[in-house]
Symmetry: C2
Subunit: 264 residues, 2 copies
Amino acid sequence: MDSKSLTPLRIVVIGAGNVAFQLSKSLSRAGHIIAQVVNRTEANAKLLASMTNCGYTIDAHKTLKDTDLYILAVPDGAITELCSTLPKLSGLVVHTSGSTSLDVLSPLGKDFGVFYPFQTFSKDHEVNLTNIPFCLEASSPSCLDLLKQLALSLGGNPIEMDSKQRQMLHLAGVFSCNFVNHMLAIAQILAEENEFDFQLLSPLVLETIKKALDGDPLKFQTGPASRGDSETIKKHLALLSRMDDDLRDLYLSLSTSIMNFKQS
Amino acid sequence: MDSKSLTPLRIVVIGAGNVAFQLSKSLSRAGHIIAQVVNRTEANAKLLASMTNCGYTIDAHKTLKDTDLYILAVPDGAITELCSTLPKLSGLVVHTSGSTSLDVLSPLGKDFGVFYPFQTFSKDHEVNLTNIPFCLEASSPSCLDLLKQLALSLGGNPIEMDSKQRQMLHLAGVFSCNFVNHMLAIAQILAEENEFDFQLLSPLVLETIKKALDGDPLKFQTGPASRGDSETIKKHLALLSRMDDDLRDLYLSLSTSIMNFKQS
């Protein structure tokens, strides 16, 4: 345990997706005990349970263990339905969703909270949670304090945040992770189709990110749209039209948005 | 000089924008001699000339010096016009443009080439050219060899590439630099408007980039669009509608594009 003040918790993990996998493994490594994995798809439940040395169940309503903490790491859209099928729980219940309010958990018991690790997770890519912001919200100061200690025990950076602010952070995360990754996926396709090495992009991407994370990406915008270079934009649209109309439209939307930002 | 085989070159730099500034400073540091700066706007010409200890002119046609190398570091759209106003040149003439073909330089003399540093440049942000790809093309093998030596003298990574391939790399650069930066600029605005620290995004962005540059961003796409989570997409569109219709449309275009990639 990184944090001296928190005794190891016994935890039930509900869900067996990317977040459940990475969080469970990190919790185990930090000395906590995964007491049970709950998931409707047996294969995933079994795999995660075997990795964290615990049992699993596919039926939360019937066979849920009594523990200190229940982590609902299921898709955002499944949380509300899950809450209606679970029994009342005596331990602290948290969800890990950026876009779901705290209140949806209130039917489950008196102690509930949000434990949202602000990171991107894939099952087959180990993630280090050191310094990751954990956005926390809870039904009481004591629950909030427990979640802070839990985040610290994982090496994370606990941040108290209400549901409104957390959903805006989540939205910012979609732009700066999912959409950024999509831009690089498009670059990857361009590299494959035109037979140049995708790694040629690496110094450019790293410099872009370094400058942007210095704190003012608006100031450092460069490129054809930023300098109003309509000739180059036209050339690029023509190149993309030969490949894919959707990519051409996306290029145009992005360029227009950059130009609008310049003017505002 | 990093490269033993190249004696310092005397260079005229035409242009005084971001690329001209950073390239001139790097060339000077590597031991080359900037003999003259040429630029229509006197203030910028004077500033760059003073930084590289040389003279300047605002009239290329009348007072251009005789040198080994002429670097046309002007906006892409200005290259063709500039070529029609310059006199015939005895030295090697290169442009630094990703999207402009080699041929446009042929009226200027028998030795011409492309010297395209694949990086993003800002006047007030020092850039390290070590390992930066320099995409090269030239009118003859000996010119190409000189450009290779020049790139190596800057610590760069010389890559021979024809005009077609270079313009596709440039297009990939717009996606992976300009558009990536725009995603982060939008995240910056969301942070400012909702009073959370933009730096909270840093671990997420760094992890996203690390995974993507491992070579397969298509595989590591996550987020609401990737998992077909229409509820979260709807929530995000509603949040953005309150702020800005253009941002809402952009979010929708990007999400649709991610979904199309999943299906293809």
